[in-house]
């Protein structure tokens, strides 16, 4: 029999026992819905965790520092005064090389410095830190008051809430006001008497900068491993670089062959995908620097979620497997009811293969319909879980999140899985129907 005829006959047969077939299809859809809801919860939680971690800057970042000279001491195993190679400077050239590595999104220095700010004539000692524009996506800035920096080098500051509380009893009122930033600037020495070239070294001079407070942030943004416990006064990174504030490695620069060429104390390298962190980390180490990432922790997290998804998938599939028994039951019942019909089909020229295919198409159609319906129900369950979760979070004054997610691959897999399970459930009834003796079947009342 041709495919179109098979399809038409199968749909006709399904329509005839409408209630029973609908209930069977509903059973499959409940199974698929259970699978989809479970998986969407697992994947949604994984997405949420991955997103939060990615936004924390911990899992897509590599913290790079120059190799310490201490690494050349060999703990008594070698000569005490082994010839030590000077550590490779972490300068602009190294930064550009790292930026050119595959999968690297950005490379920026971690700039932080002690400062004294003046507000309403009162001094406050604190730590200032440069913030890269991409940090705007950090979860830490999600619930901030005010706004993020208007530009990459704007004369603006964002205060961490503890500092803001020190400045004013009403922290929110600080937004829009100015604060004076006092800092130590590293300046090259002026040319000597001959006026031809500047001598090696630099001087440190106090400077001031007026900044407008544009925002207040609740939590202290991490912004990368190197910035853990970073400053409480945040300024745009480009601005922080132009200030040329003294850094902890300035003294090391002084001892290098070219002391006027400035190097970075540390760099943060951001990678486009956490799984690629390890490769980039190795490349940076090969370049002669110390590199560190939390990728192992990320791997563990990924493993945990994979196992989590697996178990959710298994529990979700159980309902589908139970539903598949419904298909077996429905089709076996159909064989009993349609025994005579099968006999007539065979008497008119239907082969065993035709009968088998007819039952398979009926099972597959129920699987397809149940899969599509189940996908819809599963998504609705997911939305209900999201809704309930957000009602709870809202009551606790927490931002809205999505804990379930249905990806296209999951939708496709759920429908294919439903069809495959249905076809598998149809194997026995279809074979049994195909094997029916036509003479016996025609005799059946």
């Amino acid at each position: 029999m041709k495919g179109r005829d098979l399809g038409e006959l199968a749909i006709r047969n399904l329509r005839e026992a409408f209630l029973r077939n609908s209930l069977t299809t509903l059973g499959i859809s409940v199974g698929v819905a259970s699978l989809v809801a479970m998986l969407s919860l697992g994947v949604g939680l994984q997405d949420l965790a991955t997103d939060r971690l990615a936004r924390s800057g911990l899992f897509d970042a590599i913290f790079v520092t120059p190799k310490s000279a201490a690494a050349n001491f060999r703990g008594g195993q070698g000569p005490i005064f082994a010839p030590a190679e000077p550590p490779k400077p972490l300068d602009e050239e190294a930064r550009e090389k790292m930026a050119a590595l595959p999968n690297v999104v950005e490379v920026y220095p971690d700039i932080r410095f002690p400062t004294e700010i003046h507000f309403n004539g009162n001094p406050f000692a604190t730590m200032a830190a440069g913030v890269v524009p991409s940090a705007r996506k950090d979860g830490a800035f999600d619930g901030m008051k005010g706004s993020f920096f208007s530009g990459p080098d704007a004369d603006e500051a964002i205060l961490q809430i503890d500092l803001a509380r020190q400045l004013s009893d009403q922290p929110d009122s600080l937004i829009g006001k100015s604060v004076v930033l006092r800092y130590a600037e590293r300046q090259p020495l002026a040319p000597d008497g001959g006026g031809k070239s500047a001598p090696d070294g630099f001087s440190i001079v106090p400077k001031e900068k007026n900044l407008r407070i544009v925002g207040i942030v609740e939590t202290e943004p991490a912004g990368g491993i190197g910035s853990l416990g970073r400053g409480r006064l945040l300024i745009p990174l480009e601005l922080a670089q132009t200030l040329r504030t003294t850094q902890a490695n300035d003294l090391r620069d002084l001892l290098r062959d070219n002391p006027n060429q400035r190097s970075y104390e540390s760099l943060t390298v951001r990678v486009n995908d956490p799984p690629k962190v390890k490769d980039v980390e190795e490349l940076i180490k090969d370049m002669g620097f110390t590199a560190f990432s939390l990728i192992d922790a990320s791997k563990s997290l990924s493993l945990v979620f994979t196992v989590f998804d697996l178990f959710l998938g298994i529990f979700g599939s159980l309902a589908l497997v139970v539903a598949s028994l419904g298909i077996v039951n429905t089709l076996v019942m159909a064989i009993l009811e349609r025994r005579r019909e099968i006999g007539i089909f065979k008497a008119l020229g239907a082969s065993d293969r035709d009968i088998r295919r007819l039952f398979f198409v009926e099972a597959g159609t129920m699987g397809l319909l149940g899969g599509v319906l189940g996908l819809g129900i599963g998504r609705l369950i997911g939305l209900a879980i999201n809704f309930g979760t957000n009602v709870y979070l809202k009551r606790r004054a927490l931002p809205e999140i999505s804990v379930t997610a249905v990806h296209w691959w999951m939708a496709g897999l759920a429908i294919i899985f439903a069809i495959l399970i249905s076809l598998a459930a149809g194997i026995y009834p279809a074979s049994r129907a195909a094997r029916l003796d036509p003479v016996e079947a025609l005799r059946y009342e």
Binding site: K2, R340, I344, A347, G349, R353
Partner: protein, 233 residues
């Protein structure tokens, strides 16, 4: 009636035995016969004589326990299940006592079913269905379901269904068994007309007078054996 010299069906020491517990039932026992193309043969006998079993063997619905049965020179006993299905689809058309129409299908759909199974193109199907239905004079009932038809109309529908694939042999198992006399005669007249076109007909019946009136060869069976084979008694 026109009969040719070619053999349409040949049974060669055909037996069909069933094991019923400890007992061996010899439904058909060592039957040999030849039916020429174009013949109208009536298989007569009481209930349990083996006539329907022999018809099922000729139809390819059943396989002999031993012996050979040839239709158009091909031994049905040696055919694969797929080949037997093709034999039922293309070589023979079958009419049953209980009509065996599919109740959910209209008259037209019932008649079209063998064409679907034989994978005949849709364009050709319509014409062949109409032709078969006109042959049994039911053109006005195309969209009716079996439950809306009389017994005679149902049997005529079954006849149209058996003829739609243009078989060379028509097998009828008690075709008038469920019909009143007038309607039964109507069906028998149709079978006679069909036989006059040259089609071989093998009919199982226990109504000897009718068999004598319409067929031209009577084969009597008893306990699975042919006890008499000849012309009209």
């Amino acid at each position: 009636m026109t009969t040719g010299n070619s053999i349409a069906i040949r049974a060669d020491r055909v037996a069909r035995h069933y094991q019923m517990g400890d007992a061996l039932v010899r439904a058909v026992d060592d039957v040999s016969l030849e039916i020429r193309a174009g013949e109208f043969v009536a298989l007569l006998g009481s209930s349990g004589s083996g006539k329907s079993t022999l018809l099922n063997l000729i139809a390819g619905l059943d396989r002999p326990s031993s012996g050979a049965i040839f239709a158009q020179d091909r031994n049905l006993a040696e055919m694969t299940p797929e080949e037997l299905a093709r034999h039922r689809s293309h070589t023979v058309g079958i009419v049953f006592q209980a009509f065996n129409l599919l109740p959910r299908m209209t008259l037209e759909e019932n008649v079209e079913l063998p064409l679907r199974l034989a994978e005949v193109d849709r364009e050709e199907r319509t014409a062949r269905v109409r032709e078969a239905i006109e042959r049994v004079r039911l053109a006005a009932r195309l969209t009716h379901r079996p439950s809306e038809l009389s017994g005679g109309e149902q049997q005529r529908t079954a006849l149209a269904r058996a003829l739609v694939n243009r078989p060379s042999i028509l097998l009828a198992d008690e075709p008038t068994g469920n019909l009143d006399t007038a309607t039964g005669d109507e069906i028998m007249n149709l079978l006679g007309d069909i036989n006059n076109t040259g089609m071989t007909i093998v009919m199982v019946t226990h109504e000897q007078p009718r068999a004598e009136r319409y067929s031209h060869r009577l084969i009597h069976m008893k306990d699975g054996k042919v006890i008499a084979d000849g012309g009209r008694a």
